[in-house]
């Protein structure tokens, strides 16, 4: 079925017209608001051909090792992920701790950042749109492993290969360091993430082998440290 934007605009009226205006200046924003049949309007209308490459080709982005100046963006995205995981009040550190702990002489984590070109920046003006935070761990059975603590892509940049690229880069680093395994944890209700990882060959060790995460936190840790002999 072919149609032109003008022929449909009459039917769908003002909201679509305003979307088109938005689309010319912020193609990504318009795309993220459109679903199903409305996409057809953009494909066939010749006025928007020049933007097709941006929308329908693979999104252009780069994955790089984070730099100290990225910590403010990483802090922002950490909070976005915490909000998604329904635990924003548990975030206690800021970009200052991230800078100190990730870029000192003894880094406690590694971080990759996904960046889009300026013409694809988010509606809030951000070009850093995703990150993966990981570190090296050790399995007494297998040796060197990588633990991926966070993997996050801003909602409007999802389904464009960025998450996959971030994870593949973590896998590449793991391979270079002779690590035999990548581990991470997912909340049991987080179906989109569970599906994403299972499709890549991930195995749920909590289901398969019964592993549970435990912790000594805050006061419990202090009490343990002070226990009389």
């Amino acid at each position: 079925m072919t149609c032109t934007a003008s022929s449909l605009q009459g039917a769908i009226k003002e909201p679509v017209a305003s979307l088109f205006r938005t689309y010319e200046t912020h193609p990504t924003v318009a795309y993220s608001r459109l679903f199903g049949g409305i996409q057809a309007i953009l494909v066939t209308d010749q006025r928007y051909c020049r933007n097709q490459k941006t929308l329908f080709a693979k999104m252009r982005f780069t994955i790089c090792a984070a730099k100290p100046e990225d910590c403010k963006d990483i802090e922002r995205m950490i909070m976005e992920l915490a909000v998604y995981e329904k635990m924003p009040d548990q975030v206690k550190i800021s970009h200052k701790e991230l800078e100190r702990d990730g870029f000192g002489p003894n880094p406690y984590y590694q971080c990759l950042v996904a960046e889009v070109p300026e013409e694809l920046m988010s509606k809030d003006g951000h070009t850093k749109v995703g990150y993966a935070l990981f570190f090296y761990t050790y399995s007494t059975w297998k040796g060197r492993t990588v633990y991926m603590e966070d993997l996050y892509v801003m909602p409007e940049y999802r389904s464009k290969g960025i998450g996959k690229a971030l994870m593949a880069t973590v896998a590449k680093v793991a391979k270079e360091q002779h690590c035999v395994r990548l581990q991470f944890s997912v909340l049991d209700w987080n179906k989109p993430s569970l599906d994403f990882y299972l499709a890549k060959g991930a195995e749920d060790l909590t289901a398969k082998e019964g592993w549970h995460f435990l912790r000594f936190h805050g006061i419990a840790l202090d009490n343990l440290a002070q226990e009389a002999p």
């Binding site: 570190f135 049991d188 440290a225």
Partner: protein, 202 residues
């Protein structure tokens, strides 16, 4: 009560550490999954970039194990990072050989003619001897938590198999919380084969 010391592991301890790793894996019913060698442990723990830290529990020679070992417990840990709270101490393995653990109950049926331990006038007297453990597990845990506090870690994390009730009780008695139950976290892995597939796709 017998004494013991806790000290930082040294390169010479790697064969004992591997022995204890295999014993713990046997207890977890996954002995065949240990592919690590002494050479790996040496390189990964005592090279330029240590991937782990280890403390060992050592008893004096007169308390050596039935097989003649004096290194009878260990804990392996490393530092991880939580983007919400910062540095963490992650406890990877924690094990004390069975004969040096908790409460050992020794049943002694004593007849006056052959009782070597106590002199008793009566025959067929049942003695219940409670041999208390050395407290090694508790001391290791305390030392780890002190290390965590000293190095500004907000938390100490670890995993336990849900069927391992004695261990879960041990930790919960001391104030640990189960994040898998409380918050729904599930542990995942992607093994080498699938990792390589991901890098090839890129």
């Amino acid at each position: 009560m017998a004494n013991f010391i806790l000290r930082k592991a040294e390169p010479k301890d790697v064969s004992d550490i591997l022995r204890l790793i295999k014993e713990l894996a046997k207890f977890e019913e996954m002995e065949d999954q240990v592919i690590l060698t002494e050479k790996d442990l040496l390189e990964d723990g005592f090279g330029d970039h240590p991937f782990y830290h280890c403390i060992v529990a050592e008893v004096p020679k007169h308390h050596q194990s039935a097989d003649g070992h004096v290194i009878i417990g260990f804990a392996m840990y490393y530092f991880t990072y939580d983007p919400w709270i910062g540095k963490l101490l992650y406890l990877e393995d924690f094990y004390v050989m069975k004969e040096y653990r908790g409460m050992n109950v020794t049943l002694c049926i004593c007849e006056s003619s052959n009782c070597q331990i106590y002199e008793t006038p009566s025959c067929n007297t049942l003695f219940l001897l409670l041999k208390l453990g050395f407290g090694i597990g508790s001391e290791i845990l305390k030392k780890l938590s002190q290390t965590a506090v000293r190095t500004r870690c907000s938390s100490m994390h670890f995993i336990v198999a849900e069927w391992n009730k004695p261990s879960i009780e041990f930790y919960k008695r001391r104030g640990a919380s189960d994040l898998s139950l409380e918050e729904g976290w599930r542990l995942f892995k992607i093994d080498k084969q699938n990792l390589l597939k991901m890098t090839d796709e890129e």
